[in-house]
Amino acid sequence: MDTILVVVEQREGKLNRVSWETIAAGQAIAAHTGWTLEAAVVGSGVAAIAGEVAAKKVAKVYDVESARLEPYTPDAFAHALREFLGKHPAKLVLMPHTYQVRDFVPKLATALQTTAITDAIGYKYEGGKLLFTRQMFQGKFVADVSFAGSGPYFVTFQNGSFRADKVEAGTAAAPVETVNVDVPDAVVRNKPQEVFKEAKQAVDLTQAEIIVSVGRGIKEQKNIELAKQLADALGGELAASRPICDNGWLPMDRQIGSSGQTVAPKLYLALGISGAIQHIVGMKGARSVVAINKDSEAPIFEIADYAIVGNLFDIVPPLIEEIKKAKG
């Protein structure tokens, strides 16, 4: 019987909650394939996290320890997991598709002469073969991808692909085994400094009930004002996709997406946003999505409740008037 290993993510000794989604993915694949599900946490002094994971329905949890694993470096993490997998082979290794994971997984997979299917959003198990689905061309298509070679096969799952609340608890706590790995000094080449936040977050979009968000379709900085008027009329906050903030048209703290804020408002109104994956992951938890875009094939429409194909500059002005009227 083959083994599925979920490597949960911890940062500075705290479990990253997105790891529960990966556990849910592991449990689903294990149920489908009949393979054994195990989990591992990698770090320094992270036994408490191993204990937390052991309460879930997994056969075993490994606490992979080395003082060199704190702070995080790709060299130490790849080295530690390579050594661990040498002793405890797994066929399939699952992780969340976080910035940290994408920093070391390609290195780890290459060192093992195997590959990682990154940013997967699901899987299929057909005729004894595992396929992983991932978005391509910025979400315009979805691909079924298979592994060749003997593995171990690495898969990273996009945030929100599985539901953390679907994780099954175990009937009894799973055994936890501590595995001390040797990470020699010379292995770790980078010297990371403290993690910091650029500036004080002036606006907390995570609390906003209504968000009007602008993308490249807004075309020019002066047009931001139009979106602002719409946000004001709705009593909502103004936000943007990454290119708008890169251009300095709106401050960075109004950016939605993997590198910005993750929001779940009652209404997310997307103006001229195509819906690249990095943006979608930051707003797909919205209760409702309205999208206005001139490109009828924009991926944002895939997740929209109401869609308007057209020029936002034609539609937004009468929309503001109608909202004002409706609000009296």
Binding site: D103, K107, T118, F141, V145, S146, N190, G310, A326
Partner: protein
């Protein structure tokens, strides 16, 4: 500093894409452009060269049309280009793309190698990191700033949710560059003219074949995403559409 920039040609952002008959790839009769993060990687390399002297070399792997990416890079100020040319490079997975590039540059010594953080077509976000591992070099990903110092470089890594981190690294090193790290320049007329005389080395698959193996991951099928939502399209002239939407906002979504 001698800097290599890995660049890729991808379909234009708003190009309508269609699947081929087998459903395994897109039809290639679309417009292409340079992968956006790669353009920022090139710009950063040019800025580093302006500060610290040296050379900027650009490399791409792809069919003849991918040459356009190199031509633009040379026009913006890159010193020379390497083109791994041929359709054989199109379907390679990230591991094999990196192995082919590594083989093509085996006689060169770069202080820095840049890639964009990911491509707009496959979106693997892997080739740069794999290249680092193959070459035995340290790497850092999603870089927003690069400062050279006595010991090497200090880079600013972007983390999630607005967090950042400085990392000190020795050279040589591989960095994957985030969009927005700088402001892109345009090619000048003189630059475009000069580009025509700059050195371009072509590399065929035959030359790097021994380094490349079978793909370790295979795209079995591409399909149009299944809708997770029942999207209602509101149609009509702008004033009418606005009325319809407000009715939905009020009575269905209850947000006004």
């Amino acid at each position: 500093m001698k800097i290599l920039v890995c660049m890729k040609q991808v379909p234009q952002k708003d190009a309508p894409l269609k699947l081929n008959d087998a459903g395994t790839w897109i039809r290639d009769d679309v417009s292409y452009e340079v992968n956006e993060p790669d353009a920022f990687a090139l710009e950063e390399a040019l800025r580093q060269k302006e500060k610290h002297k040296g050379e900027v070399v650009v490399v791409t792997a792809g069919p003849a049309r991918a040459m356009q990416v190199l031509r633009e890079a040379l026009a913006k100020g890159a010193d020379r280009a390497i083109h791994l040319e041929g359709d054989a490079f199109v379907g390679l997975d990230a591991y094999n793309t990196a192995r082919a590039i590594a083989a093509a540059i085996k006689d060169e010594k770069f202080d820095l190698i840049f890639t964009g953080l990911q491509s707009d077509d496959y979106g693997y976000a892997q080739t740069g990191v794999i290249l680092a591992e193959i070459l035995g070099l340290p790497h850092a990903t999603i870089i927003m700033q690069i400062e050279k110092n006595e010991a090497g470089i200090r880079v600013k890594r972007e983390l999630e949710a607005g967090f950042f981190q400085f990392v000190d690294m020795s050279l040589p090193a591989v960095l994957t560059i985030q969009s927005g790290i700088n402001k892109l320049r345009y090619a000048t007329l003189i630059g475009i003219k000069q580009a025509k005389t700059k050195p371009l080395r072509k590399v065929t698959m035959d030359e790097v074949q021994s380094a490349v193996g079978g793909n370790l991951q295979k795209i079995e099928k591409l399909h149009v995403p299944q809708k997770s939502k029942n999207t209602e399209f509101l149609e009509g002239p702008p004033a009418e559409v606005a009325k319809k939407l407000v009715e939905k906002l009020k009575n269905e979504l209850r947000v006004i």
